[in-house]
């Protein structure tokens, strides 16, 4: 069992889970959080995680963590993955742990690794400017045997190291490249459009084996999802698990979580999109915990501990092959208008048996939002649903994503 976990970043639900779990921990985060931590008796080490220099580096941090007797580091943010990797390299005396952390932070490197290992990926390339993207699209058109007058092949560009959908652009034509790409986007990864149905899964890994696999059904990327997966994806669970284990093997992941995105084609082929190794967004672990009735955040932390015993892990995870009766889903609400002044909950939600609760807040008098949002921008709150029928759930989430809550 770990002496002490270093939680890298800041997440109140995770801290709460750790308190309940009763395991020793220390939170490493920006000095801004010190006051709150002191007030709430949270063991805390302030550190400038956004700086890397002679006085701010992993060796120094490891030294500062010694009084806490830390032996496991757990990343909570995308941006703390390298820090955790570096610390764990020290704790496990294995430099490759850090290299693996870099793998998660460079999407081109990640794809190359997957390709070498035999996973299906799209065509991809590192690009440095608009011309590079155009050349990439041209070669893609050639390979797809484009005839004059036919549409261009779709290309996605993504920053090497950003969470989720931040900075992701879909380019459908040469014109798109001129219009949508900005100089600040480069260098980045360009890749061909992957066909298939998109979903993500969260694999809790310990000693290189998947201890628990969650599959999240995306109703609309960035807006709505539910857990467990619906009937169709469920019928492919074995196939999916096989691929995730393969990914774990290829990447050499021993402890923690991987959170890969896949595209499932009609021929039951899985295309690998990308993966991360921190807590997924969209309240996924919250939904997962509710559906499978376990503390998914505590389990996430515990998986990082090489010394956790099988009994400990068994006691925290749901029983093997447990299939929940209820589906938990949510839809994140973004104002659909650029100017709005009221929050209005539609009548139909009142007696919706699947409705659980929401965290929507009213706008600050008349509020405007600008159009240049990063990723999907900030949502104004989440509506939670719960019910027995995944098809009804899909219907509800699709519907409420289209409703104007802000008028």
């Amino acid at each position: 069992m770990a002496n002490c976990f270093a939680l890298m970043g800041w997440s109140l639900p995770v801290i709460e889970s750790m308190q309940k779990l009763g395991k020793p921990y220390v939170v490493v985060s920006f000095p801004d959080f010190q006051h709150y931590a002191d007030e709430n008796n949270i063991p805390f080490l302030p550190y400038s995680l956004d700086e890397w220099n002679d006085t701010s580096n992993s060796l120094d941090l490891a030294e500062k963590l010694k009084p806490f007797n830390v032996d496991v580091a757990v990343p909570l943010f995308e941006e703390t993955v390298e820090w955790a990797g570096a610390l764990n390299s020290i704790y496990r005396n294995d430099p490759r742990v850090l290299n693996r952390a870099f793998l998660f932070r460079n999407k081109a490197m990640m794809k190359r690794k997957a390709l070498i290992g035999g996973l299906r990926v799209g065509l991809f390339e590192e690009v440095h400017n608009k011309e590079g993207v155009k050349a990439f699209m041209r070669r893609l058109n050639e390979a797809n045997l484009q005839l004059p007058g036919e549409e261009d092949s779709w290309v996605h560009i993504k920053p090497f190291a950003s969470a989720g959908t931040v900075g992701h652009r879909l380019l459908k034509s040469m014109n798109d490249i001129d219009e949508k790409c900005q100089d600040g986007d480069f260098p980045c990864l360009a890749e061909s459009h992957l066909p298939g149905r998109e979903f993500s899964c969260e694999a809790f890994v310990h000693k290189g084996k998947i201890r628990f696999l969650n599959i999240t059904e995306y109703v609309k990327l960035g807006y709505s999802n539910f857990i467990p997966e619906g009937h169709y994806l469920h019928s492919k669970r074995d196939l999916i698990e096989k691929h995730v284990q393969k990914l774990v093997d290829i990447f050499g992941i021993e402890y923690g979580m991987v959170h890969p995105e896949w595209f499932l084609t009609e021929n039951d082929e899985l295309n690998f999109g990308e993966t991360a190794c921190r807590i997924p967004g969209g309240h996924i672990l919250e939904l997962c915990g509710k559906s499978f009735d376990f503390d998914a955040l505590a389990a996430f932390v515990l998986c990082h501990d090489p010394n956790a015993s099988d009994e400990e892990l068994d006691s925290i995870f749901p029983p093997k092959d447990y299939r929940p009766e209820n589906y938990n889903g949510n839809v994140m609400i973004y104002p659909r208008k650029t100017q709005f002044s009221k929050l209005e909950i539609p009548e139909e939600l009142n007696n919706e048996p699947y409705f659980v609760d929401h965290s929507l807040v009213p706008p600050l008098s008349t509020q405007k939002i600008s159009d240049n949002r990063e990723g999907f921008g900030n949502h104004f709150g989440t509506i939670n649903f719960r019910g027995e029928d995944p098809d009804r759930m899909t219907e509800l989430l699709k519907h409420y994503e289209q409703v104007d809550f802000y008028i």
């Binding site: 109140l12 709460e16 929050l343 009142n350 048996p353 609760d357 965290s359």
Partner: protein, 664 residues
């Protein structure tokens, strides 16, 4: 939605469990989610019953922790409405908070559970209902409708319906009745609020029942709905018109007498009153003084200026602007028509053509402008009301106390100047006032303190305030940076030569501190306290700056009032009588300092406080230094210490106190 499916309750229980199991780190987030379920449950009666039963448990589990609702002792009934207007999630917390207070009131709890006494809870609930009658009686005002969503209105109506059914209504009745009495005792020019309350009392409470037969509120209800035997028998206005056309002179006399008495007792005028006055003017003018309930001076005025007055009244009278009759009666009691300047002024006013912008403003201030009345008729009747009731001027919800006290002062001491000013603004939508050799033209000036005029004002204020406000503000601007309070120069220029040029302020601009407060109070007493100033009385209103403090005595802000007179009350206590233009003379300024509006020798519209309590809130006033200086040594130290102690322990905590002695 009247039926709630079981899943809503199940979901609530599940979320409540999650809330209970959460640590302080995520409790607030989970409370917000719970609030979203409370939001839904509060839309139905069953839901409210369910929440009511859960309310104490929710409180105990910390649902209100870290919110303004955490301490039931500190809740302010007056604030509930604002929270409801703001909508979810605040309104959902508010709903549960009300249910919890009801629980404290109605359930038998152990001593440790009873966090507040039943009396406090009762008093709180009554106050909340009194301030939210539109929800309680399902009569939502247009203003509220524009601010709230349908759903939130439904929620509020549902909540108050529930509260009314669970609470003894008698206390509310008494509170409302007292509210009516104290409002009317102040004789406001704008009677909208009083009329609304009386209407609700009449309609929703059993004011007619045997036990309420002799209740004082009957007087007010009758004043509006049955001010005479004829009106009682002929409620319909057309019927009443028929009735007066055909009744005997004796009946007309008794009708006039009864109506006059109701008007004098309440300051309220009914539509019947307007009809009867019109009838008397054309057929039996000798009964007009009876209807106006005039004193001897008033009767003399009527005899002297009957033709002019008849014409003036016939020009503007209509059941929809009946209230001006009270103003007219008061004007005559004050002998204003004897003054040639007033008569000429009114004659000039009758003939003006109102500027279209001003016309818009006037009509906007009338709730339902009657097609039978034009802007000039509204303006004329408005002028008569202001001249008849100088102390009834209020600022509404506008930050324009300075302008309001100006209108009130001119109405008392320079009625013709006021009429002139009204004529200028009404025709030109512009105003010129000179300040230190500079002509300030309101239309050429930037914004005043006013962002957006609240039209719940009397007609004269609606016309004048936007201009007075700009000019006042410009004068203040020009006087900043002179190392002394700008009011020193602005007040005499703005209000006129009635204001003394000597000026004392306890706040020192250079050292940013309260300086020589003892000396300051000494001057105040030597200037105004009849025991120490040679028994001199205040002649003109004195523009005074005061600190407004909360009911806990904490500093809130600054306010402009007019000190009117200093006199002994019936208990031989020296009191300051003043005009508070904020429409609400009754307030709680902490330290048991509560201005009174009735029963301590106040004239209608005056507020009053014992002089030491008043002095303990003053920060600046005008005085005559030449006379005052010779009385300074008369003021006893112990009187000054009383004032200083009150000041130090209230607003004084927000300032640095300098002990330096100042040369006044």
């Amino acid at each position: 939605m009247d039926v709630i499916t079981d899943t809503v309750y199940e979901n609530f229980e599940r979320s409540f469990d999650e809330f209970k199991n959460a640590t302080n780190l995520t409790k607030q987030e989970k409370a917000t989610k719970l609030a979203s379920q409370i939001d839904i449950l509060s839309l139905s009666r069953n839901g409210l019953t369910f929440l009511y039963k859960k309310s104490l448990e929710l409180e105990k589990e910390g649902f209100f922790n870290g919110t303004p609702w955490s301490d039931p002792e500190k809740l302010v009934p007056f604030l509930v409405k604002g929270t409801l207007l703001n909508g979810h999630p605040g309104s959902s917390f508010e709903v549960l908070s009300e249910l919890r207070m009801l629980y404290y009131l109605n359930e038998e709890l152990s001593e440790s559970e009873q966090r507040i006494s039943k009396e406090t809870a009762q008093d709180y609930m009554e106050e909340v209902i009194v301030h939210n009658l539109e929800f309680a009686f399902k009569e939502i005002s247009e203003e509220t409708r524009s601010l709230m969503s349908e759903r939130e209105i439904k929620k509020a109506i549902n909540l108050f319906g529930f509260l009314l059914s669970e609470i003894e209504i008698k206390g509310i009745f008494e509170k409302l009745a007292l509210e009516v009495k104290l409002t009317c005792e102040q004789r406001p020019i704008v009677t909208r609020k009083a009329r609304e309350l009386i209407r609700m009392l009449d309609r929703h409470f059993e004011a007619d029942s045997e036990q309420n037969k002799n209740h004082f509120i009957k007087t007010y209800i009758n004043a509006l709905y049955a001010p005479s035997k004829g009106a009682r028998d002929h409620k319909n206005l057309d019927d009443y018109q028929n009735f007066v056309e055909n009744c005997s002179r004796n009946t007309l006399y008794s009708e006039a007498e009864e109506m006059g008495e109701y008007m004098s007792a309440t300051g309220l005028v009914s539509k019947y009153h307007a009809m009867l006055l019109k009838k008397l003017l054309s057929d039996t003018p000798e009964l007009v003084p009876v209807l106006l309930d005039l004193n001897d001076q008033g009767k003399a005025e009527w005899e002297e200026y009957r033709i002019m007055l008849s014409q003036l009244v016939m020009d503007i009278i209509h059941p929809e602007n009946c209230q001006f009759i009270y103003g007219l009666s008061e004007m005559m009691r004050r002998n204003l028509f004897v003054r040639r300047v007033v008569r000429v002024g009114l004659e000039n006013l009758r003939k003006i053509k109102i500027n279209p912008q001003v016309e818009k403003r006037i009509l906007k201030s009338i709730v339902n402008p009657s097609p039978g009345l034009s802007a000039i008729q509204y303006l004329m009747s408005g002028v008569i009301r202001v001249l008849g009731q100088p102390l009834g001027v209020g600022q509404g919800n506008n930050p324009t106390c300075q302008s309001a006290r100006g209108i009130s002062m001119w109405s008392q001491h320079a009625p013709a100047k006021l009429i002139d000013m009204i004529i200028t603004v009404a025709t030109q939508n512009n105003l010129l006032i000179r300040f230190e050799n500079h002509d300030l033209v309101s239309n050429q000036l930037g914004k005043g303190l006013l962002e957006k005029l609240d039209y719940n004002l009397d007609v004269v204020s609606v016309v004048l305030v936007p201009h007075l406000d700009k000019i006042y503000n410009e004068m203040m601007h020009r006087s900043y940076g002179r190392t002394e309070d700008p009011h020193k120069w602005v007040n005499p220029s703005m209000y006129g030569h009635w204001i003394q040029v000597g000026f004392a302020s306890c706040y020192d601009y250079l050292s940013n501190s309260i300086m020589d407060f003892t000396g300051f109070v000494r001057i105040f007493y030597a200037a105004f306290h009849p025991d120490y100033n040679g028994n001199r009385h205040l002649v003109y209103p004195n523009p005074v700056g005061i600190f407004i403090t909360s009911n806990k005595g904490d500093m809130v802000g600054f306010h402009a009032i007019s000190m009117l007179r200093v006199d002994k009350d019936k208990d031989d206590q020296t009191r300051v009588y003043f005009l508070n233009p904020n429409n609400e003379g009754r307030q709680n300024w902490g330290q048991e300092i509560k201005p009174s509006v009735y029963g301590q020798g106040e004239k209608h519209g005056e507020s009053s406080l014992p002089i030491q309590e008043f002095a303990a809130r003053v920060y600046a006033f005008h005085y005559d230094p030449l006379i005052t200086n010779s009385w300074i040594s008369n003021v006893p130290e112990e009187e000054i210490i009383k004032v200083k102690t009150l000041a130090e322990q209230s607003w004084g905590k927000s300032y640095i106190w300098s002990q330096q002695i100042k040369l006044w």
